[in-house]
Subunit: 258 residues, 2 copies
């Protein structure tokens, strides 16, 4: 299995603190040693750093830990290979373009005998079940809305439906973003915490590091952190219920009736 | 204008030496300070590093200079913004997927009043003429070969024709790769040099650095380096004639009659 980390904020924020703890799971506090990746949206642009080395040994992970890239939407993944061999082409997050926006996707879980009918607009480059699922999601969205990006309340039920279909093949915890929204789906393990005023200190589980967020935030800042397992031991993480597709924007869960 | 750097090899090779000289053109020996990027193919996978900071000030460029990523196809670009504002979404190289392969593209030049008819399979994320041209090329290739990747001698005339069409809008020096071939087109400035046995020393123009390639190569190694302007002052760079579309594979120019 793999581990997921996501961040969605109302102002561009760096992920150095959370990534420090997450990164330790790539070979130090956990066994996810078959590569890793992280994608940062910045305005419409997107940077994806990938490495098929374990994150604790990766010079690129060292860079990401110490170079505070500020972003409103981040998706990271560390890999324990199940389907698909170890190789750069099988590292998450995957990236494609749809409706003139980049879309980024990372998955935790296994899909069994999953061979979706792909018609060519998105084809997997690697051999993971995860990239197939991503291509199938994007193809379905494009087919449903061929001309242009729909409104969220039009997009949501289509994404929910295709997610339900894919979930029938196995465990389908995922993070998906187009730089505006961060979609999260849980089958088994996915937790989130919304860090907002009044800010306090936070202490990592995987490294003995504490940050006092009072000294590095404004009262209006709001940051949602989403992870396979909680990253801190003194914050109240919420478990995402099985089968729920959440939408984060500006550091909060959107409540809407689709 | 911008500067291009490409590398195509018969065995995975690092680009540290060439990138050192090239990188100096991003604010030290030349004025291309509006961002940069580099893409490395590794087997089917591809890593793209982008930064909207000048390459001489970029921590990511420092990483790339000192972390020897080995690749058979590399495309790099440093940007002097003309069309499109400074921003990550406008940094080259651009990446898309076609026929289950990643394709990477970087452009030097300006296309005037270039508004190609794009039908949705590839849409620009940023606002450059270059990304429009890339989308138009991929859409044309997909439209011509909707089912699967054609043979090179089928693909070449289509790419040549669409390149000629786009060239009518202005200067269109470009590098394009799918990880197997590196296509280069020149309108004005593009030079290449094929480094092969018997190897010798090479001295950079932009930095006072010399490498003795005899000590770091095997006799069978062959590396084609392609750049807007020659990178070394003691090697015989060949200027690509105007309007010529070259195809590099395994460190050499493919001679074939399309």
């Amino acid at each position: 299995m793999c581990q997921l980390l996501g961040m969605n904020c109302n102002v561009p924020t760096d992920i150095c603190f959370s990534f420090e703890g997450f990164c330790a799971r790539g070979g130090k506090t956990d066994e996810h040693i078959d590569g890793w990746g992280i994608a940062f949206f910045e305005h419409l642009g997107c940077r994806v750093f990938l490495d098929d080395n374990p994150s604790i040994k990766s010079p690129i992970a060292q860079l990401v830990k110490h170079y505070p890239i500020k972003s409103k939407n981040v998706i990271a993944h560390i890999r324990k290979a199940t389907y698909g061999k170890v190789g750069l082409e099988n590292c998450h997050p995957f990236q494609r373009e749809l409706w003139g926006n980049y879309w980024v996707f990372a998955h935790n879980g296994d899909l069994h005998n999953f061979e979706p009918p792909l018609h060519g607009s998105y084809q997997p480059v690697g051999t993971t079940d995860s990239e197939k699922a991503f291509c199938y999601i994007l193809e379905t969205l494009r087919h449903s809305f061929p001309q242009e990006k729909p409104l969220l309340n039009e997009l949501y039920p289509v994404l929910k439906s295709i997610t339900k279909t894919i979930s029938e093949y196995g465990i389908f915890n995922y993070l998906l973003s187009n730089g505006e929204y961060l979609f999260t789906h849980s089958t088994t393990n996915l937790y989130y915490f919304i860090r907002q005023a009044p800010f306090a200190t936070a202490h990592l589980i995987d490294e003995d590091i504490t940050v006092d967020f009072r000294s590095v935030t404004d009262d209006s800042d709001r940051v949602a952190v989403i992870a396979t397992m909680p990253l801190t031991d003194n914050e109240q993480w919420v478990k995402v219920p099985t089968g729920q597709l959440l939408v984060f924007k500006n550091g909060d869960v959107i409540n809407f009736s689709p």
